[in-house]
Amino acid sequence: MLGSIYAMVAVALTLSIGVLRFLNFSIPGLFMIGGMTAWASLHGGMPWPLAIGAALVAGALASLLVERFTWRWMRNAQHFVPLVSSMAFLLLFEHLAVIYWGSELRTVPSLFPNADWRIAGLVISLPQLSGLVCSIVLIWALTLVLARTRFGRGLRTIAEDSDTALLLGVDINRIVPVVFLISGLFAALAGVIFALNYRQVQPFMGEMVGLKGISAMIVGGMGNIWGSIAGGLIIGLVEVMSIGYFGADFVDIAIYGLLLLILFIRPTGLFAADFAGQRA
C-alpha cells in the first residue's frame, strides 16, 4: 500500500526529471497540500468526493504556481536554479501550512469504517483498496497516454532530446504546464490516499513521507516511469520489512541507505531505461 503511494510520488518526480530535466523538490510539498487539504475539507464537513476534488485542485494550482516561478523564468539560467527554487517552494508551502493550519498532527476522520474485507487472513479496508486501485489505474493510464497519444509522444520526444523535439514541432511551451499539472495531481493524490489510509496529516508530512519518493525514483531508475513504479514498490517493501525486522526506528536508515548505495553502485537505478521504459 505504502509502495503504491511512493510509486505515485516517484512517478510525479520522474515526469519532471525525465521531461524537464529538473528535480522538482516541491513535489513533497504538493503531496502535503493534497493530504492536508483533504483533511481540512473533511474536517470542515465537506462530503468526501468534494474533499478529494478540493485537494486535487489545490495540488494542481500549487504545481502551476511552481511552474510559473521556476520553469518559465529560469530555463536558461544556471542548471541548478530551478532545483533551488523548487526547494524554496517546499519551504514556502510547509510554513504557509503551519501558519494556516497549525503544526500539530491532525487526524483524518475515517471514511467507511465498517467496510473491511477479510481475505486470506488479511484485513483490507475500503480506503486501502481504493487507494491501491486508484494508483494502479492512474499509473497505467499514464503509461497508456505516453505510449499511444500524440501528447505522450511529444513528452517522450522532449524527454529524449528537447532540441529535436523543437525541430519536430512539439510545442514545449504548451506541454510543460501540462507536465507540471500531471505531476502535481499525482503528488496531491498520493497525499490524499495517504491521508485517508494512515489518517494522520501534518505540515511536514512531505518531508516524512513524500521525500522517500525521491529514494523510490532513484532506486527504481531515474527518469523512467516503469522504474519509478518498481522503485516505489521496492521502497514500500523495504519499509515494511525493516519495521518487521528492525523496528520502526530504522526505516529511514534503510530507505536512505538503500538510496545512497544505489547512487554509489548503480546511479541509473535498478531498472535503467529511457523515459517510457525502453531498455537503456
Binding site: L23, A88, G257
Partner: protein, 294 residues
C-alpha cells in the same frame, strides 16, 4: 545586553558559520544537501565530549568540527564520484541517514533529545564565527580560491591546466562539512539542548538558500546572506513561520531575476577603489615599466 538581542546575535553568528560551511562546496560547484547532517555530527560530538569527558567547549568544538570533516572525507570519495544532481541526491541521502541514526542513538538521547551541559555566550561564539570567516577569506585569497573557482567554472579545462579537480572538490566538501559541524557545535553549546528533529532537510535547504541569496561568487556573499536571513525578519518583527514564507518567496523572486545572488564578483571588483572594470589604459600602462623592473 538583553537576552533577546544576545539570542539574535548568537543565531546570526551560528548562521554565518553554517553559511560558510555551505559556501565551500558551492564554490567548487557542488550542492551539499546534507549540511544538516554534518551540523548534527558537530553538535552531538561536541555535546558528548563535553558532557561525558568534561572537555571544555573550546576544545570540544574544534574536535567536533574535525569529526564532521573526517566523516565528510570518508564519504567524499564515493559521493564525489557522482556528478551534479546525483551528488546533490547523495548528500541529501547522507543527511537523512545521519538524522535517522542519531534518532536511534540512545547514548545521546535518541528521540528525546540531548541536553548540553557546557554553556558558551555570545562573545565566544562571535569570536568563533569571526575566526571562521577570516580563515575562509584568507583561504580564498590564496591559489586555492583561484583553483576552486576554476573547478567550478570548467572542470575539463581546469584539469588540463594541471589542477587536481578531484582533490579540490574533496577538500572543499570536507572543509565545508567541518565548518558546518563547528556551527552545529556552537549552536549546541548555547541553546543547551539538541534534538535530531532540528537537523532535518529543511535546515539543509534553508542554509543552501541563504548562501545562494548572498551569492557564491565572492567570499562576502555568505556573510550577507546569513545576515539578511537572520536580521531582516527581526527588524520586521516577523513570526517564525512568516519569516520562512517571506524568505522562501524572496528567494524564488531572486532566483528568477538575479540568480547570481546579491553580491557578484564583478560588482565587488568595481566597488573596491583601486579596481576598475573599465580600462584606464594610458594611466596604468604609464605606471607599469617601474613595476615590471621589480
Amino acid at each position: 545586553m538583553s537576552g533577546y538581542l544576545e539570542g539574535v546575535l548568537v543565531l546570526l553568528a551560528v548562521n554565518v558559520v553554517f553559511a560558510y560551511g555551505g559556501f565551500l562546496p558551492l564554490a567548487a560547484g557542488q550542492l551539499n544537501l546534507g549540511l544538516a547532517g554534518f551540523a548534527a555530527i558537530g553538535a552531538y560530538v561536541s555535546a558528548y565530549l563535553s558532557n561525558v569527558f568534561t572537555l571544555a567547549p573550546v576544545i570540544a568544538i574544534p574536535l567536533a568540527g574535525v569529526a564532521a570533516g573526517i566523516v565528510a572525507l570518508i564519504v567524499a570519495v564515493p559521493v564525489l564520484r557522482t556528478r551534479g544532481i546525483y551528488l546533490a541526491l547523495a548528500t541529501f541521502a547522507l543527511g537523512q541517514i545521519v538524522q535517522a541514526i542519531i534518532l536511534n542513538l540512545e547514548v545521546v538521547g535518541g528521540a528525546a533529545g540531548y541536553p548540553v551541559a557546557a554553556f558558551i555566550r555570545l562573545p565566544a561564539i562571535a569570536a568563533a564565527a569571526a575566526v571562521v570567516v577570516t580563515l575562509v577569506w584568507l583561504l580564498f585569497a590564496t591559489r586555492f580560491g583561484i583553483a576552486v573557482t576554476a573547478v567550478h567554472d570548467d572542470e575539463r579545462v581546469a584539469d588540463l591546466m594541471g589542477i587536481d579537480v578531484r582533490a579540490f572538490q574533496i577538500a572543499a566538501f570536507s572543509l565545508g562539512s567541518a565548518i558546518t559541524g563547528i556551527g552545529g557545535a556552537l549552536y549546541a553549546h548555547h541553546f543547551s539542548f539538541i534534538e535530531a528533529q532540528y537537523f532535518n532537510i529543511s535546515l539543509s535547504i534553508t542554509i543552501v538558500l541563504y548562501v545562494l541569496l548572498g551569492g557564491t561568487q565572492t567570499v562576502i556573499g555568505p556573510l550577507l546572506g546569513a545576515a539578511v536571513f537572520t536580521l531582516l525578519p527581526e527588524l520586521l518583527r516577523a513570526s517564525a513561520n512568516w519569516r520562512y514564507v517571506a524568505f522562501a518567496a524572496a528567494l524564488i523572486v531572486i532566483m528568477a531575476l538575479r540568480p547570481e545572488g546579491l553580491v557578484t564578483g564583478a560588482q565587488l571588483r568595481r566597488l573596491f577603489g583601486i579596481t576598475r572594470a573599465e580600462p584606464r589604459a594610458a594611466a596604468v600602462a604609464a605606471g607599469l615599466p617601474k613595476e615590471r623592473a621589480g
